[in-house]
Each structure stands twice: as C-alpha cells, then as structure tokens.
Symmetry: C2
Subunit: 217 residues, 2 copies
C-alpha cells in the first residue's frame, strides 16, 4: 500500500465528492462549484486536479475498472458453467454500480463514439477491451464453433451493455424487471450458444457471423 501524499488525498477527496454529487443530483445538474465546495477546496483547486468536468467522469471509469477487475476474476472462478459465469459477471457489475445508476444514465447519453465519454469511443477503448476479455475468459471450457468464437466475446459484451442500459432506466421496484429480463434472456443466449454447433443451424450461424463482421467493419 503506497503512502498517499497530501496531493493524492485531495484528488481523491474531489473525485469522491464529485461522484457523490453526480449520484445525488445527476451529472448535468452538478456544477464544478458544487464539487469544489463539497470537497472543501476552491473552484480553482478542482481544476488544478481535473482539467474538466468530463475528466472527473473518466477518472470514475478508471477507478471502477480497477475496483471491478479482482471482483470479476473472482466471479469467474466461482463456476465452470457458462450461464453461471455470465450471471456472476453481471451481478458484480450491477452491485457495484447500483449506487450510481443515475450517473450511468447521464453517461449513456454519449452513444456517439467520438464523444470522449462514450463507452464505444477511443478514449474508453482500453477499459472496454479489458472488459471484453472477461467474456473471453468466461467462455473457456465451453464448446463454441470456430467461426463464431472470435466474435462471441464482443457480442456478449454488447448484450451485457443492452441489459445494463435497460437497468439504468428501469423504474420498477429494485429493478425487478431487469432481473427477470436478464434471467430469461440469458437462458436464451446460453441455449443459442449451445445449439450454435449443430449442423442444422450452420446456415443461420453463418448469417449471424456475416452480420457481425459487417457491423464491426
């Protein structure tokens, strides 16, 4: 454990104040002035540590990834079964982001890959690829047709993003609808992966792979 300098301290305090405010009041409604006040520094101080409001969100992404990595590793170790593994990955993420559902909402606004905060953009590529790797690991031990294998982790990642998006805006109590939707769709997804190898479905599988290749460019 590195000793945290006073500077690290202040930076962390600003970040945590910001996330707290984003959570409570939303991203757009939170001003840099609010953040500075909550962290006990002057406005300029906040800008000394983060060059912009966006940069704070990026720092939040980075921290989330660092926090999540070991939890995701652990989730994968809990079982060899694909369904259970995918379920465990999702559980870890939803639990982690639960207090920040609202913040994710304002961020999901950035679908444009050219926006720095977009989950599909360049600035977040490393985090994204890191995340996709966990789906690759989850598939270890599961039989998947050769032509599908290179694409499946990314497809599962996208599926996961869809569920998370649904979850963000799910107004049902404790997001029960998302949980029901996830259980049912996951069973379907795993079933389809299992069935994807049978000869009868070969033409269908090829169509899907072709589709994915087209979409990915």
């Amino acid at each position: 454990m590195p000793v945290r300098s006073k500077s690290d301290e202040t930076r962390a305090r600003i970040l945590s104040a910001a996330i707290d405010l984003f959570r409570r009041n939303g991203f757009a409604q939170t001003t840099m002035r609010d953040i500075a006040a909550e962290a006990g520094v002057a406005l300029g101080g906040a800008y000394y540590y983060f060059e912009s409001k966006d940069a704070i969100v990026l720092a939040f992404y980075d921290q989330a990834q660092q926090d999540l990595d070991p939890l995701l590793e652990q989730a994968l170790a809990s079982s060899k079964d694909l369904r259970k593994r995918l379920h465990a990955l999702m559980d870890v993420k939803l639990r982690y982001f639960e207090p920040n559902r609202r913040l994710l909402g304002t961020l999901s606004a950035y679908a444009d890959p050219e926006h720095p905060l977009s989950p599909f953009g360049e600035r977040t590529a490393a985090t994204r690829e890191n995340d996709i790797r966990f789906f690759e690991l989850a598939l270890a031990g599961t039989k998947v047709p050769k032509d599908l294998m290179p694409h499946l982790p990314r497809m599962l990642w996208l599926y996961q993003m869809g569920i998370i998006l649904f979850w963000i805006y799910d107004r049902s109590a404790e997001q029960r609808r998302t949980h029901a939707l996830f259980e049912k769709s996951l069973a379907l997804v795993v079933q389809l992966i299992r069935l994807s190898g049978i000869p009868l479905l070969r033409p269908l599988r090829r169509m899907v792979v072709d589709l994915v290749v087209t979409a990915a460019g």
Copy 2:
C-alpha cells in the same frame, strides 16, 4: 392549401434556420442567438415562437411525422412482400433524415424516457405509436403466430431504431456498412418471422414472447 400568415412565415423561418444550424453545427453547439440571427429576428423573437430550444426539436419531430406519413403509406403500397415493405419503410426514413443525420445523433443522446426529447418518452408517445402502426400495416397479409402478433410491430420498430442508431454513427462512405447490415439483418428477421410458425420452434418462440412481455412490463 391554407394561406400562410406572416406569423406562420416567421415561425417556419425560425424552425428552418434552427434545423439548418443543428445540422451544420450540432444541437448543443447551436445557440438561440445563432438561430435568431440566422432567421433574421431578435433573440426574443425566437422565444416568442418557441418557448425553449427543446421545443424547436419537438416541432422538428412533428414536422417530420407529417412529412413522412404519406411517404410511408406509399412505401407500403409498393408491394405485398414483407421484406420489401420493411425495406421500403426504412428507405423512406433514411432518405428523409439523411441531411439531418447529425441532428439525430445529438438527439439519440436522450435514451432516458423521462427526458422530453427521448424517443421512448411520453412526450413522443403519439409519434411513436403512429410509427409503430406502419409496421402493423406492413405485416398485413403475412402469416404470424397468434401469440407473437401483438408484439411483433413493436419489436420491428425497435429493430428499426437499432438500425437507425447504427446509421447515425456510421462513418463509412455513404453509410455503406449500415446498408449492408440492414440487408443482411432484414433477411434474417424476415426468415425468422417466416419460421416462427413451425412447431419445432414453438418453445423458442414462447421464450421470446415471454421475454418481450417481461421487458414491456
């Protein structure tokens, strides 16, 4: 054709100036001052006709719907074949929105159903339902299992929204990737609808219907 009063004239001029600027510079980057200047009125003039910047976008939606309705009717009349009809519907929309791809981009930002500009929200419900009705009409004459029928128009609408979202951010020349993706996925979708009736797929179909019901609440 009603005679346009001077007031209607001005309103239309402001709307068209706004859309033009949104298109060229994006929604967020365009200020009400820009809009007013481009339309040749003072700032207050713009606010006299539109109570907010958002209201201008809503007016754009409304106008788009009015313009599109007859074109979509016509598109449906062009064929009895489901694939061709769905293709024709998409063609009409992409052609219409082509000059405003960028504007749609900034709007797709509003996934939150509570945001007034969200395509999933209450404020846009009438436009949305109107649009879904065209998918219902497109299905007339196509055999669809009874349990699936009530949900299929909405599912197709959602599929269409996905393609349009992809199109918005498609940086390939003339959005060729989107067009390829659409051709291929449409063939798949139509094929699945055709196959959905065969007894072997009944369990799968029931899972999907169950899924849709869960998602819709």
